[in-house]
Symmetry: C2
Subunit: 406 residues, 2 copies
């Protein structure tokens, strides 16, 4: 019999034992840094912008020169030239003068406002007739508005998404220090497993878990490394686990996690860890024969071979750890819902039931634990508490949604 922990206990054990596992930094090109977590503060190495910049096409001028002007009494300013895009304006501007500036162009000192071109008349007499008073600062981004030299603009630990990329580009960071992605090894074990390209003979089954676990791992931004199918052979599985443990940050073995004759996973993971298993068995249906061991700080998991059970245990217990190691703070997306129909039984274990979500109605999809195809119909899943005799139609519940995109 297994020494079983609850889901909450399992979560706590995983968090306490592996939550402080640290991944090194590496350098990423900015163009390939999306989805990565910064391992440096982004500090401005200059004043940005380095000059006062116009946000419109118009005339740079001294705001005070326009006070009180209007369409009927325009302010007459002498035209002192035009600023070219990307070039510094070398002339000197005095009160009573104005300079044409394109959007994004430099506003020369001592100008402190820009009047949009549509509010200035040009009668080709060397003057511009300004028909609207400007407030000081109008239509100008001032020097240092973005950043002052030495200022921290983005903090270490920030996840780089498109909204951050622009800031990094603006500050001239074409390469950034990011956290290494966790590498998760995936081993499928079982004499009954065949490659997915094969048609299973009687008694055989395709190796679903190598694919669904790898997809789940990559969905949370980590790297998966598949070790293929290992037969129910102690030595072969031990060798694969040792290799995976060397090369990966987390190792998942699916299959052989129960207590049958050829179930070597627990023994091998314990041997590799060199210490007792952290748990063997989680009070969850499906997913009971789940194993966790600590190999010098690396998490080793044994999951049931049943594809649906393996998928859910990865989703519920392993994905949060992967995100934690990655430095990504992301909570499960949960929706309140009402059950459309009763869920009978349960078996003294907390039960995971896939559901379809229609508006606020959760429709349970009843299934046996190794039917993987039900996932294609489900939007998420609910937990039926272990201390309840099932649930009734109309009961309130929380639906954990599956990630809908990469």
């Amino acid at each position: 019999m297994l020494d079983v922990v609850t889901r909450t206990e399992a979560e706590k054990i995983i968090e306490e034992n592996f939550g402080r596992y640290t991944l090194p930094a590496e350098t990423a090109e900015l163009s390939a840094a999306a989805g990565r977590v910064l391992m440096q503060d982004i500090v401005s190495r200059e004043d940005l912008p380095a000059f006062n910049r116009s946000t419109v096409d118009g005339y740079a001028l001294i705001a005070a020169d326009t006070f009180g002007c209007s369409e009927s009494i325009p302010a007459m300013l002498s035209f002192a030239g035009a600023v070219e895009m990307g070039k510094h304006f070398c002339g000197e501007i005095k009160s009573g003068q104005c300079v044409y500036v394109p959007t994004g162009g430099e506003v020369p000192e001592p100008c402190d406002a820009v009047v949009m071109i549509e509010y200035a008349q040009n009668y080709n007499d060397g003057l511009r007739y300004i028909e609207k008073a400007a407030a000081p600062g109008e239509n100008i981004i001032f020097k240092c508005d973005e950043a002052v030299i030495g200022q921290t603009i983005v903090k270490e630990g920030t996840l780089i998404t498109s909204k951050i990329t622009g800031t990094l580009a603006a500050l001239g960071y074409d390469r950034v220090k990011v956290r290494h992605r966790p590498v998760v090894g995936v081993i499928s074990t079982g004499d009954e497993l065949v490659k997915i390209t094969e048609v299973p003979a009687p008694g055989q089954i395709r190796d679903v878990n190598s694919f669904s676990l790898s997809a789940a791992i990559e969905e949370c931004g980590a790297l998966s490394r598949s070790y293929g199918i290992i037969k129910d052979d102690f030595k072969a599985l031990e060798t694969a686990v040792a290799a995976a443990c060397d090369e990966c940050d987390i190792v998942i073995v699916s299959g052989g996690s129960s207590v049958g004759e050829k179930d070597f996973t627990a023994e091998i993971l314990q041997k590799k860890a060199g210490s007792p298993l952290l748990f063997h068995g989680v009070s969850l249906k499906p997913g009971k024969p789940t194993i966790c061991a600590d190999a010098s700080g690396k998490a080793l998991f044994g999951l049931p071979g049943h594809p649906l059970a393996a998928f859910f245990i990865c989703e519920i217990l392993i994905k949060p750890l992967i995100l934690k190691l990655s430095g990504i703070q992301k909570n499960p997306v949960v929706r309140d819902a009402v059950l459309s129909s009763a869920i009978p039984s349960n078996h003294g274990r907390e039960e995971i039931v896939p559901v379809k979500l229609n508006g606020g109605i959760a429709e349970p999809i009843f299934t046996k634990s190794s039917l993987i195809t039900v996932l294609a119909k489900a939007d998420g899943y609910i937990f039926v508490p272990r201390d309840k005799e099932g649930m009734s139609a109309g009961d309130k519940t929380e639906v954990y949604l599956f990630a809908e995109e990469k």
Copy 2:
């Protein structure tokens, strides 16, 4: 002056003109198919499973042989051998017999139930003493429970996520037909632009948009192709647009979209389209000088050079088109919130205001339209309606959240 449309009008024009642009199919390896959209129905090519399978370690038997048995009056069944994992059991089973089956092993005919090993005693007398009655079907996945030959299990148009990957693997689909990702060309134009590795001289600015637009494009699963920085030169920009139009499904030019002296974008896009612009100007702040043209079904966009404006127009008008072409149904994530402080003004245009979201409180981040660094502080943005004189503290609003991960 620009001929301006509202945001809703712009959305409608884009949807009507480009919503039916079709992308071809290509073949993807299952291990690299996550995030792609299926362009074929996934039909089962066999019965799955092809045999009755046990979900536990136990004894396969004929349920009727156990009816009425209990711990005190066990059913005594003759032990007829053991099923090996992955192998077909060749013996014949009759009423009164039982066979050991490991989890996942074949349940031989005519057995219709499996009793878990803990409910069977073995006194080494050639019998097994079954202490718990089994219901027909108990602990068995029957042949065809997953799929019947010819059955459609996943429909064309489905986005492949980890929950789908397992089903495709189970059905033996190691390669699938998926929709080509849209390729989006990104051109930055402006004499003031320098590479992000350079320190801008007075009047210059780094080419932020090549990076932030590419990141935004890839965040929704499309491919970006950067054409670098093009100077404000009609011929050079025309050549770049022509190349991008040949090689991409959507083309974005940022910069030169206004009506200044060197703003060639509108003219070039119109020339390339060979027909009037669909719009030139959207009543949005920031983002007014936005251009849209139709080049034989391909969308050409001209965006303001201001990084924040370009980012928002991409987010609001272009991302939905990219997702549509990709075949991905994904609505913006919107949260109800209450404004923490008043937003003064507006200018007869709908206004986009970046906000920080604290619980249900949206805190506006006030900024000038070309400050890109505010995005790093924002969780999302709100729209201030054009027909309102700003908004008041305590007003209800909807916050559009930024994508937080790749």
